[in-house]
Every structure is written in C-alpha cells, then in structure tokens.
Amino acid sequence: MSYLVVIEPGQHERNYWRDLWRYRELFYVLAWRDLAVRYKQTVIGAAWALIRPFLTMVIFTVIFGRVAKLPSDGTAPYALLVFAGMLPWTFFSSGLGDASNSLIGNANLISKVYFPRLIVPTSTLVVAFADLLIAFAILAALMGWYRFAPSWQILVLPVFIMFAFLASVGPALWVAALNVKYRDFRVVVPFMVQLGLYVSPVGFSSNVVPAHWRLVYSLNPMVGVIDGFRWCILGGQSHLYLPGLIASLAVTLFFLWFGIHRFRRTEKSFADMI
C-alpha cells in the first residue's frame, strides 16, 4: 500500500508538505472560486478593482501633494508616486483582510473535510493579486497621461511583487489562525490596516522620514516593498535605501516563519473551535 497515514496527537508533520502538494489543485480551485464569485451580481463588476485604488490615489495626491505639499521623488509626478505605493499597499491590505476572514468564511469546509488548511488563506491572496494586475492597467494609463517612460528598473518589478506576496503571507496566516480562536481580530484587523496606511509610506515618499530614523522605519516590511515598487516604476527618480530594504526583508522573513509556525501549531484544532 502506497499511502500510510499515522494520526497521533500533536504531530502529523511528516505528510504535511507532501499533502500540500497533493492538494495543489484545491488551491487553484478555491482561488478560482473566489475570483469567479467576487463580482457576481454587481453592476459594474471588475471595474470596482479600478475605481477603488484610483479614487484613493486622487485623494492622497490632493491631501499629501497639494495640501501638505510633501516632496515627490525627483521629478516624478506626485500622482505616480502615490499610485506606485498604492499598488503593493492595496494588495497587502485587501489580502490581509480577506485572508484573516477566510477560515471563518470557509468554516463549513474546515469542519467537514480534511485538507492542509494553509490552502485557504493563501488562496485568497490570489484574488488580491488579480486586483493588483488590474491596477497595473491604471498605472499604465497614468504613465501615458504624464508621458512618463519607465526605465530598465521596471524589469525587476516581479521580484518586488514576490516580496509583497511574502510580506503579506506571514501576517495573513498568523491573523487568520488567531481569528479562528479569538474573533476579536475581526475588529482588530481592519483597524490595524487603517493605521498601517498612514504608518507606511503610501501617500508620501519615505524620503521625508528623517535619515536617522530611516532604518527603524524600515522595520515595517511594507516600507521595503513600497520603496522597491517606487524604485522599479519611477526608475531613476526614486533611490533605493539598501539597509532599509534588507531590514524590511529580514522582518518579512521572520513574519513568514512566525506566521507558518503559528498557523501549523493551531490548525489541527481549527475544526473544534470554528
């Protein structure tokens, strides 16, 4: 017999990653389901994915660029600076929000079928990723409007998209697991995301942060991600602060390990608590 499963309290580690691989189709299917269902019975459908970031961008440009008169990176138009930051931030915030509720939203699956639970929150990130791709269309339009040509750095963008993904997965897993046990996080997550929008350099350039605080500031992983996006999209106009990037990456990797660790520790009791 090819397949042997041993069930004991506190450990069925051995098969975990193999199972995850075996259930990869479920990952695609759940992601596809979330995408397919997302804009059913809405009037303007996927246009919502365009309108939300666009309006936020307009407001931020007016408030931070016009009213507060913060400087842009080099000669880049302020709207582009904001939008380049909005891209990863929207991905992170909607990904975190969806993932944190994903286990509860799929409670019927979790209490009735076995599969590696890791699939549920990670597959919701695919929806956020699809929105990110749609938002790139706005970016292209904006760049055309401002006649702003990207330079070679744009080719590195996939690396930073990956970075954004990793930075989202860790906290998303952690919060998703916590949310099963303590529903308080339903309230906490949107609040944290709201705060994070102002703590992270979304509406302004991280150059406005005093130099001696910059490294500490970069402990927020989204600082590294957003700076990276800006560096790629605005080309030479934005400078990459390398120590900060490394700090962000280190924190991201820590959260990735921590999120997976916490998630795996608690996932076996999800069905009892959900």
Binding site: I7, E25, I110
Partner: protein, 438 residues
Amino acid sequence: MPPPVISVEHVSKRYLVGHRTERQIYGHTNLRDAIGRELRSAARKVVDVARGRQVVQGDTVEEFWALKDIGFEVQEGEVLGIVGRNGAGKSTLLKILSRITEPTAGRIVLRGRVASLLEVGTGFHPELSGRENIYLNGAILGMSRGEIRRKFDEIVAFAEIERFLDTPVKRYSSGMYVRLAFAVAAHLEPEILIVDEVLAVGDAEFQKKCLGKMDDVSRREGRTVLFVSHNMGVVTSLCPTVIWLEHGVIRQRGSARQVITEYLARRTDREQVICLSGVPRPQYVEEDRLRLQAIEWLSDLPLRHGEPVRARIHFKTRVPVSSVAIGIGFSNLEGTRLLTYDTDFQGEIRPDLSKSGEYSVDFCIASLPLAPDTYALDIGARSGHGHALDYLAACAQIEVIAGPMTPGFIVLKGAGVRLPCEWNWCFSEQERKLRLIG
C-alpha cells in the same frame, strides 16, 4: 493476515465546555453578583488568551470526553457500520479518522487514501453553476481535475441534471442540489471511504439509487467503508459487522444482526411507565386544568408489529373539566405524524369530569399497524372541539419490532403504517384457464 487498513488504538478526544451557573436558572441576580461574575469570566479569558488556550464561554469550564479509549481494526474490503445514539461519539470518531480534528490521545494508522463524506455538498457555492460546482466539490473531496473530467458525464447522468448544468445551483430545487452533491461524492475512488448519515437525503427513488451505489462501492469494488447511519435497515443491509458506540466507548462489536438487535432493544424508552409530569409543555398549553401524568404500557415492550397493544393513560384534573378527549399519536423521528388514535374518533362521548382528581383511560389497539422502526410518541388531551388542555409532542421514543406475522420484506424498508384491506386479483381469461388446469 495482512496488516489492517485502519487500526485505532486507545483513541480519546476531549472537549472543553463552558457552563453558566445560577444566572440562567434563576433569571435575575443582583447587579453586584453579575458584575463580579463577568469580571471573573473576563479575567479567565484574558489568562486563556495569554496562554494561547481556547476561550470558553460561560463561567465554569468542564471537560467532556467525546471518546474514551477507543480501539478497533478494520481489514481491507471490510464494510463496518457504526451505530449509537446522538452524542455517542460517532461523528467525533469519523472526524478524527478523516483528520479534520486530532485526537487528544491515542494512535491511528490508516493504510490507503481516505475520502470522507460527512455531509452532502460540502463547499458547494450557490452562485456557481452546476458544472462549476462539480469541479469545486470534486477538488474539495480530493479528486484531481483529470479524474473529475473523466467522470464528468457519469456524474451528470447520475444526478439527472443535464438540462441545468449551467444554472447557478442557488436556483436548483433542493432535490436537484442533493442529487448533484451525492453524485460527485459517489464517484470518489479512495481506498477507504468514510460516510456519515448522508444517505438520508433526497426522495425515495434517489435514496434507492444511492444505496445501490454504496453497495457497488463496498461489495463489487472491494473498498473499505466506514458507515454511520441511524437507519438500522440500511446498516443491516450494507454492513456485515457493526460497532455500537455509547457515551464515547465501544459497547459492542459483532455481526450486524446481533448488535443491532441488542442496540434497538436498549435504545428506546423501555420503561413500562413513562412519566409525563416533568416534561415541558408547548406554549399554547398555558393553563393546568388537566395534566397528563403518565402512560403505562400493559403490553410487553418492545411493541410488536401486528400484535395487540394495550396501555393506560393517567391524568389529573385540578378543576372540573367538561367534554374531555384524549389522543395518542405516533410520528416518525422527523416529526411527521403517521398514526393517530382519539377517544372521540367515531363520535364517542367526551366525559365531563365534575370533580378534580386522578383519572385514567385504557386503550387497546387490536393489531399495531406500524412497521418495525423507531417512532416518537405524541400524546394530548382536548376539551370540547379542540381546545388543547395538554399536549406532549415526542415525549418518548417507541421501538416497534417485527411480530410473528411480519413479512420479511418490510423489516428493512421503513414501511410506515401497514393496514389490511380487501384485494381482488383480476386475471386474464387465458391465465384463469391455466390456473384451473394447474
């Protein structure tokens, strides 16, 4: 002998349950007590959160062992039935075997791919079409896309929903929904199949089809099946061996017929007298002019199909009550009334009870028409033309077993009420001649 496909050793499962003391029983307490209790409860929750433990509602926490030291083995190709009352631990056991939840103690070894069917239509999304849901549900149950594609036509044909493949399932009738859901699950091909009470869905025709499919899976394809059901007929016909769970322990394991006979004998209210005075009444019975006290069986239990049943209903009046009628009814466990007997059914007098005191009324059913099964007993008292004096729905579970005259074919199928009537066969001229010659 080859190693067992499933071996379960000393498996236990503990749950924590919270209780709310006093408050709920007495309704009001003073504010200071209430605040004190809330604070204590909140403090405990904070400690729980800090230690990463589960938060339990209520102010006292109790351990509850859903399973206690369970052990058994299942050989390849064996079909094992699991029976027991609600709360006996059947579903917990299946959940542990399906790896949905983990045991608190013990060890289980499974040799083969497990697919579990604890619910029909898990993960169906109402907005998606039938076609899309087949792929979704298949993937959730562990089928690969290629596997689903190969069996797609077969699934659609089994579910009989060809015309509605591209309709969102939220527009399906409940029958179509259930058929589609079962069809997907029925085409799983695991080495070990775990099924929990999912056949009790759909119309009779479809149930028969599902049972046939289950029989195929177990007998012809030689898979190992664990099967939980409350339908003893189905368990007996599908499973050669049965485990009887009670309060989280295995009470008995053996051949289906033997275990189920004993299980049925224990399962129901075997008391010769069923006391009714403490049973809660429905809201519309607000006065207590008359209270049903007890029903006393004068015949031996369990009741037998086709045999006479005699019983006495005891009741008490507090004030004079006029025009009293008493009725007794048998319902199936879903709550549908199957059979009713009333004291005034054919216009018999309704006595006026002019004194308060204790009374009783006897009844005798000459031949019990209920087929062998478990029924819920309803009992009520009316005054005049229908004003409810007292009413108790499903106040006891009554087992009816086969009597000496019961034909074998009705034992397995829930046949409901069977009554005699006059039949005349009409044969063709030719046949009549043949019969005369023969």
